[in-house]
């Protein structure tokens, strides 16, 4: 039996006190525990950012890669291990700015991974520049007169890109967080979890108070997650009311792995390659 204690890491957790990342960390531990997945039973892959330190703060297989590049790394890992759950954690700059094209393409590829997007609407680790999700008008280190761009909305963007599981959760609602992560891990295919994660140090707009006053649960309003149109309309909702829950889920679509004939012979990482026969390939060249 796995317990959350199994995931305790040796490292001092150096996120700011009160940071929403703690919630993500705890929810992930609880989700894995409840799914009976142990520290050797999954791989967590991160980019660079405050978010990206997560693999060191949890005792779980991990790879801390480069800024913006968690998704393709996670894809490569997933295709090679095949049977292990792979969880990519990215920041919002990480995942939607520098890594924006990987986001779109990972979604449409329907790789069977979970993508936890640490959405703090700011660049945390580099001390407070604007992120792609930063609210229009917010003053940051790089936007002293306020952000002038329309913020990226991860949920509609994922929907448009063909993601088969699109959800939002909020670290201030731990039960919901755990439940959503579990659903994402259980989903076969690319699963985006837009995770609202207050940055207590650099984002004074999207605070716990801000979210506490606004979040509501989609399931309480009879949302049908198989209906793309509904999902899209709800996905755009971001104001006085902010929906949490699964916007959209499509279970029938084959994952990338399902489509690859090369995986039929078992996981790549376990293949016996000691003496590969290529003679039938070379012969026609003679």
């Amino acid at each position: 039996m796995v317990t959350t204690q199994d995931f305790k890491s040796r490292m001092h957790i150096d996120w700011c006190p009160g940071c929403g990342n703690f919630g993500i960390l705890n929810a992930l531990k609880r989700a894995l525990t409840q799914l009976d997945i142990g520290p050797d039973g999954a791989v967590v892959v991160s980019g660079i950012g405050c978010s990206a330190k997560l693999p060191h703060f949890i005792n779980l297989n991990g790879f801390h890669t480069l800024h913006g590049r968690a998704l393709p790394a996670a894809t490569g890992i997933k295709l090679a291990v095949d049977d292990l759950p792979v969880i990519a954690v990215t920041g919002d700059g990480d995942g939607l700015g520098i890594g924006g094209t990987h986001f779109i393409h990972t979604a449409r590829r329907n790789v069977d991974i979970v993508h936890i997007l640490h959405n703090n609407a700011v660049y945390g680790l580099t001390t407070g520049q604007a992120a792609p999700t930063t609210k229009r008008g917010m003053r940051t280190k790089t936007t002293p007169r306020g952000v002038v761009e329309e913020p990226i909305q991860p949920v509609p963007l994922a929907l448009v890109s063909g993601a088969t599981f699109v959800a939002r959760t909020y670290v201030g609602d731990m039960e919901h967080c755990v439940e959503t992560f579990k659903a994402a891990i259980n989903h076969k295919g690319y699963a985006l979890v837009d995770t609202l994660q207050p940055c207590v140090t650099f984002n004074k707009i999207y605070t716990y108070d801000f979210y506490n006053e606004r979040v509501y649960h989609l399931r309480d309003e009879g949302h049908d997650p198989t209906d793309m149109k509904q999902a899209m309309l709800r996905g755009y909702e971001w104001g006085d009311r902010i929906p949490l829950g699964v916007f959209y889920q499509e279970e029938a679509r084959p994952t990338l792995g399902d489509e690859l004939p090369g995986l039929k012979k078992g996981p790549l990482c376990k293949r016996d390659i000691s003496d590969v026969d290529i003679s039938h390939l070379v012969r026609p060249m003679m």
Binding site: D40, T65, P72, T75, L79, T101, H105, P261
Partner: protein, 598 residues
């Protein structure tokens, strides 16, 4: 401390050589026709080398395909043509000057209006052949014009038409018997037309010639692909880019057969990151690209260095800078490949020079990558990657898969502390253990930030020195594992040409041609790897030569600069070429004569 000395082959009897170029508008099957012809000669155990020149566009441009055939060994193309087969007028305009005295120009009299007097020279035979008409009679006027031209070429070479038929049959096997037959008839028509109308054409005496050993003919990309597959590569990710794309094109067809994954990605960053992910997870993984894509991969190359992930990257060079001449050849990325990415970490840079090295060095690249847990760059270029070359066989003797310290869970116990696996354990040889992820009770963390032995980010000063030292220490053993320089030709030659990568082919051909002219005291020193380098050994080898002349397909002589930096030997004389066209033995000889005052 010497170079590996490779004696050049000695054949009985005089060498008979033939060089043919087919040219025409892009989009008319010039390249596949050339390919068929090369295979036809090779089937009969003649040596061939072939190369297509294609501008970066789809149709309407000018394509050429050159084939050089020899009874001995055709290391490379040479410049002089025996026959020029022109499907359009531009072919004659651009290439007539390269036809040797006494050679011939064949042209499609149905499409090209041409008069001998248009030519600035009268030492050539000009042969109009109604290719289109003949094709129309036996198959399809537009589609089979090139097949008729093949028959013409075989007749000109005074070779057996049957040689061609087998290859045509193979080539069109998926198109059905009707198409096959029409092609065979078309080829025969071209063959017969020549025999009938130009009975007196210069005979090269290829007929009946068979080179001693049977051999294979393929592109460098094919040899690289086979080397990778043989080494157990199961994951390839790439983004299309000349001259690397054919590797991906070939592999996607083999996914089921070989049980591999070959994936086109959204860009080169994704390609290398997927390969790094797959490799960290335990699969043998590779990516391939050209200079522009390699630029985008440099950051991840450093990740493989810092996180110690085995990785093979094929860098097929083409003419830069930037998009340059996108479908042409150059060797101008040597120093970039050696120094790419910020910071310092061990890497290996292999520079195969012919088909066999494409195969063996790609294979070895995977062993080096696994053994030292480093990125290994295999450098090609357009002529090596997409040119058609010949080899006796793909040598896999002495090659066996070595996955280095990829431990089983039991073996790994030695490196477990407090239940945590030390992915980056400091060891005597600098190489740390690694394991597969999943279900083994162990947790393993890879990290592209500086880390402690467990892989967790750690910035301590002493730790940093330890980790840098550990990683860089791997260079020591790695250096000994690198393929050493090879000396082709006489050991005590008056002058030694020095080159790397694909230049080996025209370099060796030049030796052969020079010997034919009586200059037999020339050798060629080939570097099949450039980094890391046993600099003492390389320096000693270089200093032992009487005189050194660099040969590189670039502007500045990058290998020469590199050797100067690390061995202290400055090579002043450099034969350089940077016009996007392949180095030829003729060019080397011409410039060498200038250097040597011959």
């Amino acid at each position: 401390m010497t170079a590996e000395v490779i004696p050049e082959e000695i054949y009985d009897g005089e060498e008979v050589k033939l060089s043919i170029m087919i040219g025409g508008e892009a989009g008319y099957g010039i390249v596949s026709a050339g390919d068929i012809l090369a295979r036809a000669f090779a089937k009969c155990s003649l040596h061939v080398a072939a190369y297509s020149e294609i501008p970066s566009l789809i149709r309407g441009g000018h394509n050429t395909f050159q084939i050089c055939v020899s009874t001995h060994k055709a290391h490379s193309l040479w410049r002089a043509l025996d026959f020029l087969v022109a499907l359009d007028h531009l072919t004659i305009d651009l290439n007539a000057l390269n036809v040797s005295p006494g050679g011939s120009i064949v042209y499609d009299s149905d499409s090209v209006k041409f008069d001998q007097s248009d030519l600035d020279r009268d030492d050539l035979t000009v042969m109009p052949v109604p290719l289109k008409t003949l094709a129309g009679e036996h198959g399809h006027a537009d589609l089979m014009r090139n097949t008729v031209a093949l028959g013409v070429c075989v007749a000109l070479a005074n070779y057996r038409c049957e040689a061609l038929q087998g290859v045509l049959r193979e080539h069109f096997k998926l198109k059905g018997e009707k198409i096959i037959e029409a092609n065979i008839r078309s080829a025969r028509a071209g063959y017969d037309y020549v025999k009938e109308h130009f009975p007196d054409i210069r005979i090269l005496g290829l007929d009946g010639q068979v080179c001693g050993r049977p051999h294979i003919v393929m592109t460098g990309n094919q040899a690289i692909t086979f080397g990778a597959l043989k080494a157990g590569m199961t994951f390839y990710s790439g983004y299309p880019m000349t001259p690397a794309s054919p590797i991906l094109h070939q592999l996607v067809h083999l996914e089921e057969d070989m049980g591999i994954v070959a994936k086109q990605t959204e860009d080169e960053i994704s390609a290398i990151m997927m390969a790094i992910g797959a490799s960290a997870a335990g699969a043998r993984a590779m990516t391939g690209t050209s200079g522009g894509g390699f630029c985008l991969m440099t950051e991840a190359l450093g990740l493989a260095g810092e996180a110690e992930v085995p990785l093979v990257v094929m860098l097929g060079q083409r003419t830069g800078p930037a998009t340059g001449l996108a479908t042409r050849t150059e060797q101008a990325d040597l120093l970039f490949a050696i120094h790419a990415s910020q910071g310092e970490f061990p890497r290996a840079v292999l520079t195969p020079g012919d088909l066999n090295e494409c195969f063996t060095l790609t294979y070895q690249a995977f062993n080096l990558a696994d053994r030292y847990q480093i990125p290994v760059i295999v450098m090609g270029d357009r002529i090596l990657n997409e040119g058609i070359h010949c080899a006796t066989r793909l040598e896999d003797e002495g090659l066996s898969v070595d996955r280095g310290k990829l431990l089983s869970a039991e073996e790994a116990q030695e490196f477990v502390e407090d239940g945590h696996f030390k992915r980056y354990a400091i060891t005597n040889d600098g190489i740390s253990p690694r394991i597969l992820w999943g279900g083994n009770g162990l947790v393993q963390t890879y990290n592209g930030n500086e880390h402690n032995e467990f892989g967790d980010t750690y910035e301590g000063r002493r730790n940093r020195r330890g980790m840098m030292g550990k990683r860089m220490h791997k260079m020591k053993a790695l250096t000994k594992d690198m393929p050493p320089p090879q000396l082709h030709g006489p050991r005590d030659a008056e002058v030694t040409l020095v080159g790397w990568g694909s230049t080996k082919m025209p370099g060796r051909e030049a030796l052969k041609m020079l010997a034919g002219e009586g200059h037999d005291s020339v050798s060629y020193l080939h570097f099949p790897s450039v980094w890391p380098m046993d600099t003492d050994r390389a320096g000693a080898i270089l200093r032992k030569r009487e005189r050194l002349v660099g040969v590189e397909t670039n502007f500045s002589g990058q290998l020469c600069d590199h050797l100067a930096s690390h061995t202290g030997v400055h090579i002043e004389d450099r034969i350089l070429k940077y016009d996007g066209r392949p180095m030829t033995p003729n060019y080397i000889i011409q410039l060498l004569k200038g250097v040597m005052g011959w």
